[in-house]
Amino acid sequence: MPGAFEGETVTRRRFMNVVAQGAGGIAAAAFTLPALGFALGPIFDREPFQWQIIGKPEDFTQDAYTTKVLTIVEGIGEAGESLTYVRKRDPAIDSEPLFEHEGYVLNNFVALSSRCMHLGCPVRYVAAAERFICPCHGGVYNFRGEVAGGPPVRPLDRFYNLVHDGYLYLGPRYSVNSELERFSPRDPGEPLDGIGQYLYPARFSTSVLPPTNNLPAPPVVPGG
């Protein structure tokens, strides 16, 4: 189609077409992109995590696990709670190293998460067998939380812990590979040995080790 005037490269009809379609596209993007960002935002949002008191150091022994309830997500009641199995670290069997964080020696206690590393069901500790057993698909873990049988792909997750002012504080979750080396928290079903740690990269949303300068105060004991 020849141009309306000499040297015209884009016809008026085509120009109007592009402008109208482009305006429609921009208008659609103006509500689609913010909505999409709104839905995808939590992937990049780092959840803050507070240290929380779960007991006194003398409540726990080296040769038996004590069950404690901790809050993973605040403000949603039971749905935000999780179980942890806690015992005192036994240097005779626990070879994983202690480490320092802001002047505290961390992980003097072994605080295992009850989350099964197959698909996330809650494991229970069977004291007679010294095993953690998952009711869903038969995952079994030994006394140190390492896989002893069944489908789990890595040892049970753990919680950072420190002792302050006569109380045991629990921090965020971390994951371990079969050598019990620490990794940032992964979801169940994601192996961390070999290429596993590259197939299942760390996420933006998981908590880093929080600072220790604002630890929650111990509860006030009446008459104490």
């Binding site: 992937i43 959840e47 993973i72 069901c121 169940p188």
Partner: protein
């Protein structure tokens, strides 16, 4: 004051019916339905479309297996209608309100347990019907040219229906719902590279949190049903446009010209 010219305008006399006697009021009443339909059709010209959709030629030899698609459509409509009314009583509150609202529907609301049951069992019926419909199409070879796109959209609808099952399973928010969703999201997370981020998207964070339930609820009752309704419309358009394939045991009557032998 006279009416404005636009409002006072009357329909020009119909030249075909000039001088015909007026209908008695009782006759006019019996014709009212037809009159309304005519009035709409005159302005929309929908009747050829309706005729095109409803009065189609179908091949010889079709049987009850050909009704499975319609059955699936009615299962979807059942889910849509009961779901809309369940939403009037349901509360996606993760701190216990969701479970309480379902308990209220089942125990207190008039016909609540019935409508909830229609939705719950209807979901299973829909999955079963989809697979029977799919098997019919597969074994009768009805997915072949020119109906491949109808098949592809059908597969997408199957996947979306399963996503409906997954997101809906959480909503009663009892122990079974909660742990099934934990396991389901973790299965999803085992996809390499993007799996962990998809899990964060589904849960709205690294853990099952305060907005996970409302997120599942929004996906379950707004996002997926909208996409499904649009795709079902397109699926039905293609079925109507391309016609129904005949069963494989019915031989096509070949024209003489094709079977004629020519001596050379």
């Amino acid at each position: 004051m006279p009416l404005p010219k636009l409002l006072g305008r009357t329909k020009p006399a119909d030249p075909d019916h000039v001088g015909e006697p007026q209908l008695a009021p009782i006759e006019a009443a019996t014709e009212a339905g037809l009159t309304v339909v005519d009035w709409i059709d005159e302005r929309t010209a929908l009747s050829p479309g309706v005729r095109w959709l409803m009065f189609r030629k179908v091949p010889k030899g079709i049987n009850w297996a050909y009704t499975l698609g319609s059955a699936t459509l009615f299962a979807f409509l059942n889910q849509a209608v009961t779901g809309v009314f369940l939403a009037m009583y349901y509360r996606p509150d993760v701190a216990g309100g969701a479970y309480e609202s379902i308990r209220n529907i089942n125990d207190n609301v008039f016909l609540g347990q019935f409508v909830h049951g229609m939705h719950k069992w209807g979901a299973s019926v829909m999955i079963i019907l989809i697979f029977m419909h799919m098997a019919r199409v597969f074994f009768f070879g009805a997915y072949k040219y020119p109906r491949e796109l109808t098949w592809i959209i059908g597969v997408v609808l199957l996947i979306l229906t399963m996503a409906m099952g997954f997101t809906g399973y959480l909503l009663p928010f009892d122990q079974r719902s909660y742990w099934a969703t934990i396991v389901g999201v973790n299965i999803n997370n085992t996809g390499p590279f993007i799996g962990p981020y998809m899990g964060d998207f589904l849960r709205a964070g690294p853990e099952f949190g305060a907005t996970t339930l409302s997120r599942f609820y929004a996906i379950h009752m707004l996002l997926i049903p909208g996409i499904m309704a649009a795709l079902i419309g397109f699926h039905l358009y293609l079925v109507t446009k391309l016609g129904i394939s005949s069963p494989p045991w019915v031989k096509a009557h070949e024209p003489e010209a094709v079977t004629e032998y020519v001596e050379v």
